[in-house]
Every structure is written in structure tokens, then in C-alpha cells.
């Protein structure tokens, strides 16, 4: 029970000849809110892809709640209680908002591949989907096809699908990217609310969000983690300062 939510050790990923993840070690404790920051192209999304089995690992180990998960398929990892969102919105475009969320809860409620139960009779699935819809503020758009939602609404739905299953380990890849300030604020408040008591790992560029939300921060630069620490310590870390010189972290710290 003391095993960390996620333990990554010696993780490597090559695309052809280029090494993108070059030996990452990372422990994320249960219940922790962990932010991963780093410049564009550092490999943050790739790290998420490896943990969630969207991409096969080249070398190294990944444990989820003490269990080795390397080589499993994405759905097997999802069933072990890890859920993730995508940097590029990844929703069911032709289904309504409500159906998107209901699809996301079906497995975790144990309905599996059932073709002998009526969806409309599954009260728990409906209630859970509606509760999530309320949380992400899309109740008004219940029957709208996801494909024609506004960008911010799609981002909210993206997070909704991720949290709907009730997974206790959540990975969010740039959940607020492309949002306006007010939208970001709302999204952060929502994220804080819906991940209460869960393990959260988040890639985020907005330093205000990162320093406000995270218990610990890891800095990923060029496929390696150069520092993992509490926000205050990261702020003063020389290596981080160097890697980030003159970039958004500075302004983020200043503000």
C-alpha cells in the first residue's frame, strides 16, 4: 500500500535514431499533485504516452501502484485506474456531450460489453455522467454533438472524459492550453475540485497555474528530468534557472 502511484525508472524512448526520452526516473506519491514543466519538445507528452501505453517503451520500467505495466495495452492500464487527457483534443465527435461522458463511465461501472442491458435503465451511469457534466459546466450543452462545441468547451469535455471513470491516477496534458485568462481560472478551479483526493500529474505551461496547484514540480529538459522538488525549491534551483533563463518561468516566478 506504500508503493507510489507511479514509479518510472530508467525510462527511454527512441523514435528511429533520435532519443527523445533519455533515462527518466520519477516517483509520484499517492494523493500528490505533481506538475511537469519544461520547454516545448522536451518530451513531456511523450512521457505521458509511455506511461499510458499509447507508445511502446524502448527501455526502462513503469510501475502503477506497485504493479509493472510495461507491455500492457492502453485499455488494460485504464482499467487499473489510470486515466489521461490529451494535449490535442481527443473526444467522440459525433456523440453528444452526455454520451461522451456516459461512454467514459461504462467500463468502470462494470457494464463491459453488455448487449443485454438498456442504457437508459442504467441509473448509476446516467447519474455519474450527469454529475461530471455538472462539474465541468456543460449541462447546458447536454445533447450537443461534441464536434460542434467551442474550443474551451471541448477542452472541458476532454477533462470530463478523463475524470469520469473515477480513476485515482489522473494525467492531464496541458489542460489549459489555448484558453483565455478567465477560462484558465475556471478550468483550474474545476481541476482542483474534480481531482480532490486523487493523484494528479499535469503538464502545464502556465506558471501561475503550476505554482498554485502543484505539491511538487519536475522539470523535464531534453528528455531528462533535471530537478524534482517542491515549488519553492524549484524556484531557486540553479539548474532550472539556467534551463529556463529568459523564458516563461521567469515571468511566472516574478508574477
Amino acid at each position: 500500500m506504500n508503493s507510489p502511484a507511479i514509479r518510472v525508472s530508467g525510462l527511454k524512448k527512441n523514435f528511429g535514431a533520435s532519443e527523445i526520452i533519455r533515462g527518466v526516473d520519477l516517483d509520484i506519491q499517492r494523493g500528490e499533485r505533481h506538475a511537469i514543466i519544461g520547454p516545448n519538445g522536451a518530451g513531456k507528452s511523450t512521457l505521458f504516452h509511455l506511461i499510458s501505453a499509447r507508445l511502446p517503451v524502448t527501455a526502462g520500467a513503469i510501475e502503477l501502484k506497485g504493479e509493472n505495466v510495461v507491455g500492457l495495452k492502453p485499455f488494460e492500464i485504464a482499467r487499473r485506474g489510470l486515466s489521461r487527457s490529451f494535449q490535442i483534443t481527443n473526444i467522440f465527435h459525433n456523440l453528444s456531450v452526455f454520451e461522451n461522458l456516459r461512454c467514459a463511465v461504462l467500463w468502470s461501472l462494470g457494464y463491459r460489453y453488455s448487449f443485454w442491458q438498456r442504457l437508459s435503465g442504467l441509473k448509476d451511469a446516467r447519474q455519474r455522467a450527469e454529475a461530471v457534466m455538472e462539474e465541468i459546466g456543460l449541462s447546458r450543452r447536454r445533447d450537443t454533438p461534441a464536434g460542434i462545441l467551442s474550443y474551451a468547451e471541448q477542452r472541458a469535455l476532454e477533462i470530463g472524459i478523463t475524470i469520469a471513470s473515477g480513476a485515482d491516477v489522473i494525467l492531464l496534458d496541458e489542460p489549459t492550453a489555448g484558453m483565455s485568462n478567465t477560462e484558465t481560472e475556471e478550468a483550474v478551479a474545476m481541476i482542483r475540485r474534480v481531482t480532490e483526493g486523487k493523484t494528479l500529474v499535469m503538464v502545464e505551461h502556465d506558471m501561475g497555474v503550476v505554482f498554485g496547484l502543484a505539491d511538487r514540480i519536475s522539470v523535464l529538459v531534453y528528455g531528462q528530468i533535471i530537478a524534482t522538488d517542491a515549488p519553492a525549491a524549484i524556484r531557486c534551483n540553479a539548474a532550472v534557472q539556467e534551463a529556463y533563463l529568459g523564458t516563461s518561468l521567469h515571468s511566472g516566478i516574478a508574477s
Binding site: R54, K73, I91, F92, L95, E99, Y113, S165
Partner: protein, 424 residues
């Protein structure tokens, strides 16, 4: 909260449909009409089963006839196995045997085909279809070779509730019963967790994996169930025609069901029903009028792909929306105005094709030298006159259609923006 178990509108629709199906042979008593209705009922089930793959799961199959055909053959062999000692009740249950055969075929073949989705699935389904069709020619013992396998659906000494299934009308009753049950079951399936996840897998297989579903398993299960219903349709065919040939499971049959489903509209549950009915009627009516009907078919299909990829059902759905918004009246005059020159264009084209057919496909030697009968008119096909006339009509129609069609499009766009503007 709208959680009535059976919404009244839907109940009315289903009841109305069933009542109509039962009433039709009372209105059209001719043997021809009843045969036509039988064929329609069978095709409705077949097309709906196909849409479980294409419309609901996003799987474009070029080999769906395999499940239909195997269902038909197994049904026929079972019928012959039962032999004289059976009863009409057993015969009535035979389509279920066909269904189980189709399902079993799905279990075996689907394991291979559903490993992939998209284009690869399309190609593999074609290959598997060819494989089974080739096997059919290799094992004449089971598939009956060129002549097929035949049987007699009237068996047993007593009737079942007065039915022997001998008369075509009784067979029609059996078809309606099975078609209704199968349709209800297929609709119910769309409202289950598996049915909904099939839609999710169609829309975005990657995300479906990340919410815990094995997309391969979803495709596999949907294919097996689709095989079940295709097999039921096959069983009905076997009973209806009392003969099954290798044609039932070849690429042509697979192509026809794809055509029906698509033309009807894959985005709506009822789309394939419309397609199956329409295409069956066209097959028989137009097929009876002209030898070139397959050509018209191909042209119609391409026209639909390019102009109305949502099929007839989507056209109906849009009109329904306009009607609800009170905008249909605004469009109706435009529709009529466009229909007229379109008919002129069609007349010209049909004339050209029919004359070409009469000349080239040559009914008899020296076609064209003497006066030939085309569309009920005597004409000299080696003279330029008739050709010029037909070409002129077509050109006139084309010009008018483009002109009026352009204005209709403007009106259409305006109406649509009003419609969407009202909503927002």
C-alpha cells in the same frame, strides 16, 4: 427528464410500421406484389445487419454476403435434414438456425477480419469474402455447385395454427414476423452499452481504448452479432425461394447490400430500411423496364456518394428539421422549380443511354440498320436525328438545371443559416 420506457412516438412508429407491413398484401393481392414484399422484408433485415457494421461501428465491409449466404445454406440443409417428419413449427423456427450459422461464421471469420479497422478491414473483408466464395465452388457437395441446393418448405402432416407456409402470403407473414423481431432486436442493441461503445469506437477508437475498452473486442462482438442477423436474413431467403445458390454469398450480393444501406443512409437507424425497400423496388421495376438498369444503378450510387453522402435518411432528417422550424414552405417552390429541369436532363440522358444500349448491346444482328424500338418509340439509330434530339434535350436540361439549381442553392444556404441562426 424524459425517461418513459417506451416513448409514445416511437411506439406509434413501430406499431404503424408493423400494421402497414401486415396490411400491404391485403391491398396488393397480386402474386408479383407479394413476392416483391417478401424480398423487401428479407433485404430490410440484411441491410440493417450490414449497418451494424458500417453505420454503427464504422466498419466498411465488402464481404457481408458471407454471413447471409452461410446462413441460407445451413438453413436449407437443416430443412432437408428435418425432412418429411418435421412440422411447420420447426420450419418457422429455421431462420434462427440460419442466424446461429451466421453468428458462428462471424466468430470464426470475424476473429481475423476485426483485428483491423478502416481501410485494412475493408480489404480483408473483401479477401475473406472471395475466399468463402471460392470455397463454395470447391465443395459442390455442400454448396450444390452450379445448381445450388434446393428444398421444400412445406413439410409435416399437420399445419401449425393453420399455416403450412406453402402459399406465398403465408411465407410473407413469416418474413414479417422475423423481420419485425430482428428489427426490434437490432434497434434495442443500439441502446445498450455495447451498441453505444461501437459508436464511440467508430468516432475515435483511440479514445475508446483510453476509457477502458478493447476496440478490437468491440468490433469483434459487433461483427458476430451482425452475422447473427445477416444469417437470419439468409435463412428467410432459403425458405422464401426454396433454393440457395453460391450467388448468395458472393461479392455481388455483398455489393448490393452495401449499396442499399448507403443509399438509405448509414447515419440513421431507419436509413437501411428505406434503402432496402427502395433498391428492391428499383431492381425489380427498373430491371423489368430496361437492360441498362445496372448502369442506372451505378450512376445513381455515384450521384448519392457525391451529392448526398448521408443518404436518403439524412435528406429526410433535414427536411424534418426545416419543417419543425417552419422553413420547409420556403424551400418547397425551389424544390419544384429544380425538379422540372432535372427531369428534362434525366430524360435526355436516359434517351442517350437507351439508344446506346439498343445500338451496341444490339438486340439482334444489324441493330441500328432498321428501325429499332427504344422506350416505346420507333427510331432509326444509325441516323443522327434521334441522337441529336436526345443530346439536345440533355443539354437543355443541364443548362436549366445549372441555372435554376444555382438559385436553389442560394436559397438553401440562406434557409440553412436562418435555421442555425434561430438555434444559436
Amino acid at each position: 427528464m424524459n425517461s418513459v420506457i417506451f416513448p409514445r412516438g416511437r411506439l406509434l412508429l413501430w406499431g404503424g410500421g408493423l400494421a402497414l407491413a401486415i396490411a400491404l398484401p391485403l391491398l396488393f393481392k397480386s402474386g408479383f406484389m407479394v413476392s416483391l414484399l417478401c424480398q423487401m422484408g428479407i433485404m430490410v433485415v440484411f441491410a440493417l445487419s450490414y449497418n451494424m457494421l458500417l453505420g454503427q461501428t464504422g466498419l466498411l465491409s465488402f464481404g457481408h454476403a458471407v454471413y447471409y449466404g452461410l446462413g441460407a445454406f445451413i438453413t436449407m440443409h437443416t430443412l432437408n435434414l428435418i425432412g418429411k417428419d418435421g412440422s411447420p413449427l420447426l420450419v418457422a423456427l429455421l431462420p434462427l438456425v440460419g442466424g446461429l450459422a451466421g453468428m458462428l461464421a462471424g466468430v470464426v471469420l470475424g476473429y481475423v477480419t476485426t483485428k483491423k479497422a478502416g481501410t485494412t478491414f475493408a480489404m480483408i473483408s473483401l479477401g475473406i469474402g472471395e475466399l468463402v466464395a471460392a470455397c463454395a465452388l470447391m465443395f459442390p457437395g455442400f454448396f450444390g455447385g452450379e445448381g445450388g441446393v434446393s428444398g421444400n418448405r412445406v413439410i409435416g402432416k399437420e399445419s401449425f395454427l393453420g399455416f403450412t407456409w406453402g402459399p406465398q402470403v403465408e411465407m410473407y407473414g413469416l418474413i414479417v414476423l422475423w423481420a419485425f423481431l430482428a428489427t426490434v432486436a437490432m434497434f434495442a442493441l443500439t441502446q445498450t452499452p455495447l451498441g453505444r461503445m461501437a459508436n464511440a469506437v467508430r468516432d475515435n477508437p483511440e479514445r475508446a481504448e483510453f476509457v477502458g475498452y478493447d476496440t478490437q473486442r468491440v468490433r469483434y462482438l459487433m461483427l458476430i452479432l451482425s452475422g447473427l442477423f445477416a444469417g437470419i436474413a439468409g435463412g428467410l431467403t432459403a425458405l422464401n425461394y426454396e433454393i440457395v445458390t453460391a450467388e448468395t454469398l458472393n461479392a455481388h450480393t455483398s455489393g448490393v447490400v452495401l449499396l442499399m444501406t448507403f443509399v438509405g443512409g448509414i447515419g440513421f437507424f431507419y436509413g437501411p430500411i428505406i434503402g432496402a425497400i427502395l433498391i428492391t423496388v428499383m431492381q425489380i421495376v427498373i430491371g423489368g423496364l430496361t437492360h441498362a438498369w445496372l448502369l442506372y444503378f451505378g450512376l445513381f450510387f455515384l450521384f448519392m456518394v457525391l451529392m448526398a453522402p448521408g443518404g436518403i435518411a439524412s435528406l429526410i432528417a433535414v427536411q424534418h428539421k426545416l419543417w419543425q422550424a417552419g422553413l420547409l414552405g420556403r424551400m418547397l417552390p425551389h424544390y419544384l422549380a429544380t425538379a422540372l429541369p432535372t427531369l428534362v436532363l434525366l430524360a435526355g440522358l436516359v434517351g442517350l443511354i437507351e439508344m446506346g444500349y439498343a445500338l451496341l448491346a444490339g438486340e439482334g444482328v444489324g441493330a441500328g440498320d432498321t428501325a429499332t424500338k427504344v422506350m416505346g418509340m420507333e427510331m432509326q439509330l444509325n441516323a443522327p436525328g434521334p441522337w441529336a434530339a436526345a443530346l439536345g434535350v440533355a443539354a437543355l436540361g443541364l443548362a436549366l438545371t445549372r441555372w435554376i439549381g444555382g438559385r436553389t442553392r442560394v436559397a438553401w444556404n440562406a434557409t440553412l443559416s436562418t435555421l442555425h441562426g434561430d438555434k444559436a
